[in-house]
């Protein structure tokens, strides 16, 4: 990868990040989720408890016990009335925001339930991954489907935007699932270990970040793949911009951005965004806008603005006291919530 751009802080900073509030939960923030209606931020501690904050101020609305031995993942039902959580007790729980109680405790199928994701649409489906077991649940916790075991532990999955298909990753490749079907509908095989998956919003690409310090692009129309190597470490950070043109990736100190316009990213040089002093832990584009936020083990958060086709610059940076572990944009793209290694939760506004 060549170094095309290193433009951090070279230009005036037209946008500022302003801290709205910050709070602390019991330990390392393992997951953060902003409710789709914008009202709540749920923060899960690696120890188990899940704290529900009001999005606009640091008021604690509720505190859920979460999971014994630790919570792994949280996800809001699209109507924002239920938070699903998964953890190391093998359970998936549905927390009702009205009563503040867990209305369901579902069996994930293995000791650790690591991943959760709601599909969109009027009848949302919750996907859960525990070990090799992929299960689908309806909005009220009824089991919809239990798929045959994956060949290896499921390391992540994502619903295809707007279409009810799910792509899961495990050692050995990507598998596509349709909730209407009892078997996998497609497999994209690769002998390696993918850590994170990101489906481009237009559905044309599935990108994976991999243990062997590479990024894969799967071209969905042909099933071909491109492998991007040269990353300093394993890639756990991926994010597509809303137009499906840019894929931002981590795997080192610099944000590496691939341009998928035209003939795609093959044989192109990515845009490199320098600034972080330690490995990145999260990169995340706005839901609709062009701003990219990145967080790193150096405890810094940068917001980058894309200008034209290749020019990007950091518009602002803030420093936390501990390494960033998670970062989410508010549904209206005006705020970011950041979680850190020592349990700090901070919310910033873009102004």
């Amino acid at each position: 990868m060549s170094r095309l751009n290193n433009l951090s802080n070279r230009f005036a900073q037209p946008i500022q990040l302003r801290e709205n509030w910050s709070a602390t939960i019991s330990d390392y923030v393992i997951d953060l989720a902003w409710s789709p209606d914008g009202r709540y931020i749920a923060a899960a501690s690696v120890l188990g408890p899940v704290t529900i904050f009001e999005g606009r101020r640091r008021t604690v609305i509720d505190a859920f016990r979460g999971h014994e031995f630790g919570t792994m993942s949280i996800a809001w039902r699209p109507d924002s009335k239920v938070l699903a959580s998964a953890g190391q007790d093998g359970k998936i729980r549905l927390w009702d925001m009205t009563s503040g109680r867990a209305t369901h405790s579902l069996d994930g199928g293995a000791a650790w339930v690591e991943h959760l994701a709601w599909s969109g649409g009027k009848k949302p489906i919750l996907a859960s991954a525990a070990g090799r077991k992929l299960k689908l649940w309806n909005a009220v916790g009824d089991l919809v489907r239990e798929y045959p075991d994956h060949q290896s532990t499921i390391s992540g999955f994502q619903w295809k935007p707007r279409v009810g298909q799910l792509a899961s990753i495990a050692y050995g490749g990507v598998t596509l699932w349709d909730p209407q079907q009892s078997e996998a509908i497609r497999r994209l095989e690769w002998q390696g270990s993918s850590l994170v998956i990101a489906w481009s919003p237009d559905g044309k690409y599935i990108a994976t970040g991999d243990q062997d310090s590479t990024v894969h692009f799967w071209i969905m129309s042909t099933g071909d793949d491109l492998q991007m190597s040269g990353y300093p470490t394993k890639v756990r950070e991926l994010s597509w911009d809303a137009t499906s043109r840019y894929l931002a990736t981590g795997g080192g100190q610099e944000v590496v951005m691939w341009d998928c316009s035209g003939r795609g990213p093959a044989n192109t040089d990515p845009i490199m965004l320098s600034g972080h002093q330690d490995f990145l832990s999260v990169v995340r584009f706005q839901h609709r806008g062009k701003l990219l936020a990145s967080g790193g083990a150096d405890g810094r958060v940068y917001v980058w603005q894309l200008r034209g086709s290749t020019r990007s610059l950091a518009v602002h940076e803030v420093a936390l006291t501990a390494g960033v572990t998670s970062l989410v944009w508010s549904p209206n793209d005006q705020h970011i919530a950041v979680g850190d290694e020592s349990g700090g939760v901070s919310v910033f506004s873009i102004s």
């Binding site: 330990d27 390392y28 393992i30 690696v46 120890l47 031995f69 630790g70 792994m72 190391q88 007790d89 000791a111 650790w112 690591e114 070990g131 290896s152 532990t153 390391s155 050692y171 690769w190 002998q191 390696g192 270990s193 243990q211 062997d212 310090s213 300093p232 470490t233 394993k234 490995f279 572990t325 290694e341 020592s342 349990g343």
Partner: protein, 449 residues
């Protein structure tokens, strides 16, 4: 740097065949009052909290990478579990990873070296292998896993010693020592061992390894055993049973008196005898004392050899293999003659063990560039065969000792404490398959500044 080191959580990889006593040892570690918070990653076990400790069940998942490199083969389940454990602020003081009985320890150890997240936060403290002293013989010859578990070990517990004789133990220890010259070996019953022999032993601490094991640097001998007999004039009979080898070289030397000193004095001359051409002797033939190397042919049905003694006195019998392997016994006038004194030697042929260790100790400073080139090239070309390597190095211009350890091609090195007034030296050991001692020694010595 030091602050970082202190943050690293030590990890013990616990290996051993099914029934060797791994679980007994684990339970002992968990129940012993050592004041440490321990996380145990076990196979096929539900997650439970035990007081302050945590036991996590893991399903062994071997990840081989696309390039097919064995050194990139890791345990996927461990990456996830260790990654999660490292997120807790209230870190565990210690992590133990138990492997399945048939596991190759390579992928487990490699997992700890594989990426920045792992090397920053975790430190391989030791590979500890529990060996069932009675039943290991069934595996040591035909199981790659058993040999690899021994070869990878920093600490070996010879367990269940109550089920075997002292002699069998000595033999076993010699055999293991031949494969892995650096491991600390403890003999245990019911896996009873002091915790500080198992926890925080620091894979880097070669100083200690050398201290407890002088035999490590001892020269190798072409024979495994010598026994001193008082023999009266006449014909005696050496009787053997079928054993692991079709032949065995022996030499019978007259010595001055029947003492340990006399036996020791005979060692060097007999080493010379063993470098001569051998004279083959078939069953029924006669063995005479003197400066001849005799190769007994052990393929007949009846393995009896006459031993002709012209003059009564003390005689030392040196044997290529341990006589117990062939149940070799000496008879005089129909009665069993036992050795007055006997001694075992570290063999240099290691049976047919291709797994050996090569230790190099030499004073002087190393040229950093030459060292880098040599190690780089070595790991690239021989990394598959080198299971473990570790050592202390004296790098020219560096006030601190440099310590390193590696698993296959993966290498982790760092500055250690200052040399201070200590004499500077280099000490390293390679454990692996088909290692070429001369090549390794010469290659290393060429790196001296």
């Amino acid at each position: 740097m030091n602050a970082m080191l202190n943050n690293q959580v030590p990890v013990t990889v616990l290996t051993g065949f099914l029934g060797s006593g791994k679980t007994t040892l684990l339970n002992r570690i968990l129940t012993e009052n050592h004041g440490k918070r321990i996380a145990v990653i076990e196979n096929e076990f539900g997650e439970v909290g035990v007081d302050n400790d945590l036991v996590i069940g893991a399903e062994e998942e071997i990840f081989e990478m696309n390039n097919g490199c064995i050194c990139c083969t890791v345990r996927g389940d461990l990456i996830r579990i260790l990654g999660n454990l490292m997120k807790r602020r209230d870190k565990f003081d210690y992590i133990m990873v138990e492997t399945t009985g048939l596991a190759d320890p390579g992928p487990v150890a490699q997992t700890l070296f594989m990426d920045a997240e792992m090397t920053e936060k975790l430190q391989l403290d030791s590979v500890t292998t529990v060996v069932d002293a009675k039943h290991i013989w069934q595996h040591i010859d035909d199981s790659d896993e058993a040999r690899e578990q021994i070869a990878f070990a920093d600490v070996i517990l010879l367990n269940k010693i109550d089920l075997v004789t002292e002699k069998e133990l000595n033999q076993l220890e010699a055999r293991i020592r031949g494969m892995n010259g650096a491991a600390k070996i403890y003999r245990t019953k019911d896996a009873v061992v002091e915790m500080d022999k198992i926890l925080n032993v620091g894979g880097f601490d070669l100083d200690r390894a050398m201290e407890v094991d002088p035999q490590f640097m001892e020269p190798e001998y072409p024979f495994e055993w010598a026994g001193l007999y008082n023999l009266s004039a006449g014909t005696h009979e050496l009787v053997l049973q079928e054993g692991p080898d079709p032949t065995m070289k022996v030499a019978l030397a007259p010595v001055n008196e029947s003492t340990d000193e006399a036996l020791k004095a005979a060692v060097e001359p007999v080493v010379m005898v063993f470098s001569d051409d051998e004279h083959e002797l078939s069953a029924g033939g006669a063995l005479q004392p003197g400066g001849q190397l005799i190769e007994l042919n052990l393929t007949a049905d009846e393995l009896r050899f006459d031993v002709q003694i012209d003059r009564s006195g003390a005689y030392a019998l040196f044997t290529e293999h341990h006589p117990d392997e062939f149940q070799a016994q000496l008879f005089g006038s129909g009665a069993l003659v036992k050795p007055v004194v006997d001694r075992e030697f570290k063999p240099d042929h290691e049976h047919d063990d291709e797994v050996t260790s090569v230790g190099i100790t030499t004073p002087g400073d190393l040229h950093p560039d030459r060292l880098n080139d040599w190690i780089g090239n070595l790991l690239q070309t021989k990394g598959l065969d080198i299971f473990r390597m570790k050592g202390i190095l004296s790098i020219k211009g560096q006030p601190n000792r440099f310590v390193f350890q590696g698993v296959h091609m993966l290498f982790d090195g760092r500055p250690d404490r200052p040399w201070g007034g200590e004499p500077r030296y280099n000490s390293l050991i390679f454990i692996g398959r088909n290692l070429d001692r001369t090549e390794l020694t010469e290659g290393f010595e060429a790196c001296l500044a």
